[in-house]
């Protein structure tokens, strides 16, 4: 077995990023993943972009209720309580 046969290609690595971030890789796969990341600036940048994408999604404003819709629901709540 050559060393190369054990290494991930960049194309394979990008498919494992979610498994890696979710902690779903085996110990061995994690070592392979991290050793690739350690010596590949392209994949490092890719992983960072995925992390930034996740972080940025968390900053999207959640769908808020319009004041009218909230009032309508509170009215329904009052009706329900008094029924």
């Amino acid at each position: 077995m050559t060393v190369y046969a054990e290494q991930l290609s960049c194309q394979e690595l990008v498919e494992l990023v979610t498994d890696y971030l979710e902690g779903a890789l085996s110990e061995e796969e994690t070592v392979r993943f991290e050793s690739h990341i350690g010596r590949c600036d392209g994949c490092q940048a890719y992983l960072e972009q995925i992390r930034q994408t996740v972080a940025l999604s968390g900053r999207l404003s959640a769908g808020v209720l319009s004041p009218e819709a909230e009032r309508a629901l509170l009215d329904a709540f009052r009706d329900w309580r008094s029924s």
Binding site: S9, Q11, L56, G58, A62, E70, L74
Partner: protein
């Protein structure tokens, strides 16, 4: 009494503030899940409103065998499914169970060198570049991000919305959407990969 039991008790006693907080907490997630079943944002908001009425109607009978959250989401999916059937829409259930057998590449194959390349098989041909921090934080970038999420297939959109926008755990998403662990991860992977690609093409066009 647990926090949840206290909350239910308060609701039954007609505590308006408790109801308002509950609605504010769950409304965004309800609308996002409803969007899997109905075609428009407005229809999804209707389904969410109908869900709250269903919650009030059932509250006195709620026995706490499941968590309040699970119970509310079950009411939502029942209402959304009924509406989808009424509107003659086919339900994306098979899509929900199966992310699709056709593999989707996270990154276009033409970004990589040939897998048979003698020296660098499958290596980046065009490497990703670090994104400029200021552009990343611009309001317009957030708009592009929102558009990219909106453009995803329904189940991918639901998973990424709940996980990354709402911050739910994978277990919570699996329970709410009735997904296996693997399928949840596959859907999340496809969604995040596409959204990243959309941001990359936007941010690069910006700096070019």
């Amino acid at each position: 009494m647990s926090g949840e039991a206290q909350l239910i008790d308060a609701l039954r006693k007609g505590d308006e503030e408790a109801f308002r907080e509950l609605v504010r907490e769950y409304q965004p997630s309800l609308v996002r899940i409803a969007r899997i079943y109905v075609p428009t944002q407005a229809a999804a908001e209707d389904v969410a409103a109908e869900t709250w009425l269903g919650v009030l109607k059932g509250l006195d009978r709620f026995e706490g065998r499941s968590s309040l959250r699970t119970w509310i989401f079950r009411i939502l999916t029942n209402i959304a499914k009924t509406r989808a059937v009424r509107d003659g829409r086919t339900l994306p259930f098979s899509a929900m169970q199966e992310p699709g057998r056709v593999p989707e590449a996270a990154v276009d194959a033409d970004r990589f060198l040939d897998p048979e390349h003698p020296r660098w098989p499958g290596h980046w041909a065009v490497k990703p570049e670090a994104w400029p921090e200021d552009a990343l934080l611009a309001a317009e970038t957030r708009e592009r991000l929102a558009e990219a999420i909106e453009a995803l297939p329904a189940t991918q959109r639901a998973v990424i919305s709940l996980r990354d926008i709402e911050g739910w755990s994978s277990e919570e998403v699996r329970n709410a959407l009735d997904l296996s662990e693997t399928n949840q991860r596959v859907l999340l992977h496809r969604a995040r990969s596409k959204v990243r690609a959309a941001l990359e093409s936007y941010l690069q066009e910006d700096t070019a």
